[in-house]
């Protein structure tokens, strides 16, 4: 503190101050440790945080007073930490307790060291730790600055301004920012207001004195009429301990006619749009949204019950007069309900940016760890996706990105020697395509070498040499999704832990998504993740097979054909169907799901042909039921574990329908082998 030079304390003074400080701070540290230990699960967390903050604050001030700069810096940072907790940016958990205890220890050691003249511990390390903690826990949201408040004058206030002008006063527009040291802002604001009153007439002060906002804003904006010069007003607004910085501008008449202020900062559009016209958003807990979504789902089921009843009613009393009114009421409900459904769906949509914002840091850290130079490009962060998707997609994406950094992008030397730029690029992009949401992760790295994948697959015993011959390069890339597959020469620290690509695939499929990978050796890899727009409701084709009711998402159905039983051929013990020029493998659900009950041996069969990535598979069904909108319910049934059933729904008549996972069926049918 060079300002201490002003207050030259004698050596004795310093010594006695230090002693007082030492006694007081020992007590404070004890209190701090006690508070920290009881912070987890504490009921009155606010008062606890306040106490801790007060301890830090006291220590900060005292340590600064006796010249322990480092300690003052540490306690200041610790205050930031508590602030972040108060702002709910950081969760209160075991890690926090650990950190607080670490801070307490460090303070204690630093003070002891200063008393005994020993070496002080590494305060800056702890400060960095706190920084790191705040950033990782709160996504660095502390950096967000409150948008400046815009002053808009009412007609009455404009009248006041012109009246003051008539009296020969100048009108000033000012922005007074609170000093860092001003911990009590609404009290500070009172001083500001008192000071301004002594300088002239306050036309407007924003936020006003009684507003709760005062505590959270950094700047108070004022419009003041005064006989003093701009410089005088500016200087006198510099209230020590309250005001940190003053911007004062004279408000000229012409400028005033258009906009009530003309300070340079006023030009910042982001600062104004956020507050001039409140967008009228409200925050709702996501649990409440989920509840509404569930209720809509129940209503969808209820609606189909009514529809069912209407048709039964129609059959039984075809001449009933009320029938027409009955079905009108029914269709009315149906219309409103689908509007409701759509609206709720829209509410559930959130920008994917919520997931993407984690990535700049992730990529930075990973690149640093593996000593590579990587630029992350993010596109389409505004793309809206279902909340349910946002909740689950983060981890799989991180894994893909981690792989890209670790196995995809080359080191700077490798890149230079292969004629690429030093810096590798990873692109994260989200966009809508039809009824799907696509998320792409693209890198310009080394790419995936199908030859090496094949070798590896054989080596790991995942595929036999004979089978391998049938696999082309394009299909070989999909080996990375096999459980227990890793091509990294050495399992690196970065991507060698946690989940593998097979888990990524499972998670993606769990929300009815698909994952596709394309790669060119030397030119890079692209992962394409495709998800349905909404996760909760799907349109599906319903059918019976093996005595059970099934549904298949309509988007996966390529066509439905009716064939003679004799058209079904057998190749290598597997049933196939020749349609036009293609041979399509067939699946009997009763077999793959061990339902035990054979389908009817009729002359004619329905075959639903499903397709994914140019791979077709036919599902043999007993009878078609129709097309319906299904509200998917999660089920805890052993079918789920087979992955063939992705979910379930209840129909209007109370019947349970199992929703099939097309990818799993194609896999089961060995669809890979029959590609064109």
């Amino acid at each position: 503190m060079d300002d201490l030079s002003l207050l030259q304390l004698s050596e004795d003074d310093v010594k006695s101050l230090k002693e007082t400080f030492y006694q007081q701070s020992t007590e404070l540290i004890e209190a701090l440790i006690n508070e920290s230990l009881s912070i987890e699960g504490c009921k009155d967390i606010d008062s606890k945080l306040k106490t801790i903050k007060r301890i830090f604050h006291t220590l900060k001030g005292d340590s600064a007073s006796i010249g322990l700069k480092e300690l003052s810096r540490l306690t200041h940072k610790a205050e930031d930490l508590i602030q972040a907790i108060e702002n709910k940016l950081i969760d209160i958990d075991n890690n926090l307790t650990d950190l607080l205890l670490k801070v307490a220890d460090c303070i204690k050691e630093t003070i002891e060291a200063s008393m005994t003249g020993k070496d002080a511990p590494m305060v800056s390390v702890i400060i960095d730790t706190i920084d790191e903690f705040i950033k990782t826990s709160g996504d660095g949201q502390l950096d967000n600055v409150e948008p400046a408040l815009f002053l808009s004058l009412s007609e009455y206030e404009k009248l006041l301004v012109s009246e003051y002008r008539r009296q020969g006063k100048a009108v000033y527009s000012g922005r007074l920012s609170f000093s860092k040291d001003c911990q009590m802002r609404s009290a500070g604001a009172i001083i500001i207001s008192q000071q301004l009153t002594s300088l002239g007439d306050i036309v407007k002060m924003s936020p006003n004195l009684d507003s709760k906002e005062i505590e959270s804003v950094d700047v108070i904006e004022i419009i003041l009429a005064s006989r003093m010069s701009k410089e005088e007003v500016k200087n006198l607004c510099n209230i020590p301990g309250v005001v940190g910085d003053v911007i004062m501008d004279e408000l000229r008449e012409e400028a005033f006619a258009i906009t009530p202020r003309d300070t340079s900062e006023a030009q910042d559009p982001s600062a104004t749009t956020a507050t001039i016209s409140p967008t009228g958003t409200i925050r709702v807990e996501s649990e409440k949204m989920d509840r509404i979504m569930d209720l809509v789902g129940e209503l969808v089921i209820g609606r189909s019950m009514i529809a069912q009843l209407v048709s039964e009613f129609e059959e039984r009393f075809p001449r009933e007069e009320m029938l027409a009114r009955f079905s009108y009421a029914n269709s009315f409900i149906e219309r409103s309900l689908s509007d409701l459904q759509e609206s709720v769906m829209k509410v559930r949509m959130v920008p994917i940016g919520r997931v993407f914002k984690r990535f700049p840091r992730v990529v930075r850290d990973l690149a640093k760890a593996s000593n590579k130079d990587i630029k992350l490009v993010i596109h389409g962060e505004d793309t809206e996706v279902d909340k349910g998707l946002v909740d689950v997609i983060g981890e799989p994406l991180i894994h893909i990105v981690r792989n890209a950094v670790d196995h995809g992008i080359e080191t700077v030397e490798e890149r230079e020697s292969s004629g690429k730029g030093r810096q590798g690029t990873i692109m994260l992009e989200a966009y809508h395509q039809g009824n799907d949401i696509i998320i792409e992760v693209k890198d310009d790295g080394i790419g995936i070498d199908p030859k090496r994948l094949k070798e590896k697959a054989v080596e790991k015993g995942l595929i036999s040499k004979n089978e391998l011959e049938k696999v082309d390069d394009k299909a070989a890339i999909d080996f990375i999704f096999l459980p227990g597959f890793s091509t990294a020469k050495v399992i690196s620290e970065v991507s060698g832990r946690g989940i593998g690509m097979d888990v990524v695939k499972t998670v993606v499929e769990g929300v009815r998504g698909t994952i596709q990978v394309k790669s060119g050796v030397g030119s890079g890899t692209i992962f394409i993740l495709r998800f349905p727009l909404t996760l909760a409701i799907i349109r599906a084709i319903l059918f019976n097979a093996g005595g059970r009711l099934f549904a298949i998402p309509i988007g996966s159905v390529k066509e439905i054909v009716r064939v003679f039983t004799k058209d079904v051929e057998s190749v290598a013990g597997k049933e196939v169907l020749r349609i036009r020029e293609n041979v399509i493998p067939l699946v009997r659900l009763e077999e793959v799901m061990n339902l035990g009950k054979k389908g009817g041996m009729r002359d004619k069969l329905f075959v639903i042909i499903v397709s994914r990535d140019d791979r077709d598979t036919g599902i043999i069904v007993n009878s078609m039921v129709g097309e319906e909108e299904l509200f998917i319910k999660a089920i805890n049934d052993h079918w789920v574990n087979t992955k063939i059933v992705g979910g379930a729904s209840i129909l209007g008549d109370g019947k349970v329908v199992l929703i099939l996972n097309v990818d799993a069926i194609i896999k089961k049918a060995g669809g890979k082998d029959s590609r064109r």
């Binding site: 207050l7 007060r54 604050h57 005292d62 007073s65 009290a187 510099n238 209230i239 020590p240 301990g241």
Partner: protein, 135 residues
């Protein structure tokens, strides 16, 4: 903010200060600041009651008063001083978390407030700011 030359504001005058605070450390600290600014500490008190007695006995130019003392003593003391002496110049000192008390004190006519713990530089600036008004 640049600290003004102390001669500017103090102008050689020996302003008389009364310090009312229940913390010894804070009183010592405040006294140091006052002395460095060229003022004289004419009295110290550890309770609000004592503070009021001293105020009317010593008639200091400025009072530095802790409002966050137990049982609102500080606020009561301030009210009593201002009640009998409309010119009483009081700078209040408060620990963090007592903002409502500080606001009440300001509405009772306190001139400024200093957040505890006392940071000498800040405190000095605030005291000078209030002294300007007396001059």
């Amino acid at each position: 903010m640049q600290m003004k030359n102390k001669e500017d504001t103090i102008a050689g005058q020996k302003y008389r200060f009364l310090i009312v605070d229940d913390s010894v450390f804070a009183r010592k600290n405040a006294a140091k600041v006052v002395e460095m600014l060229g003022g004289i500490v004419v009295g110290e008190a550890a309770t609000g009651k004592e503070g009021v007695e001293q105020y009317f006995k010593l008639k200091p130019d400025i009072v530095i008063l802790d409002v966050s003392m137990p049982e609102m003593e500080g606020l009561e003391a301030l009210a009593k001083m201002r009640e009998k002496d409309k010119e009483a110049k009081v700078i209040i000192v408060s620990s963090l978390g007592y903002q409502e008390l500080v606001k009440k004190a300001l509405s009772l006519g306190a001139k400024h407030f200093i957040s505890k713990p006392f940071e000498p530089q800040k405190a000095a600036e605030i005291i000078q700011f209030v002294l300007k008004e007396i001059k």
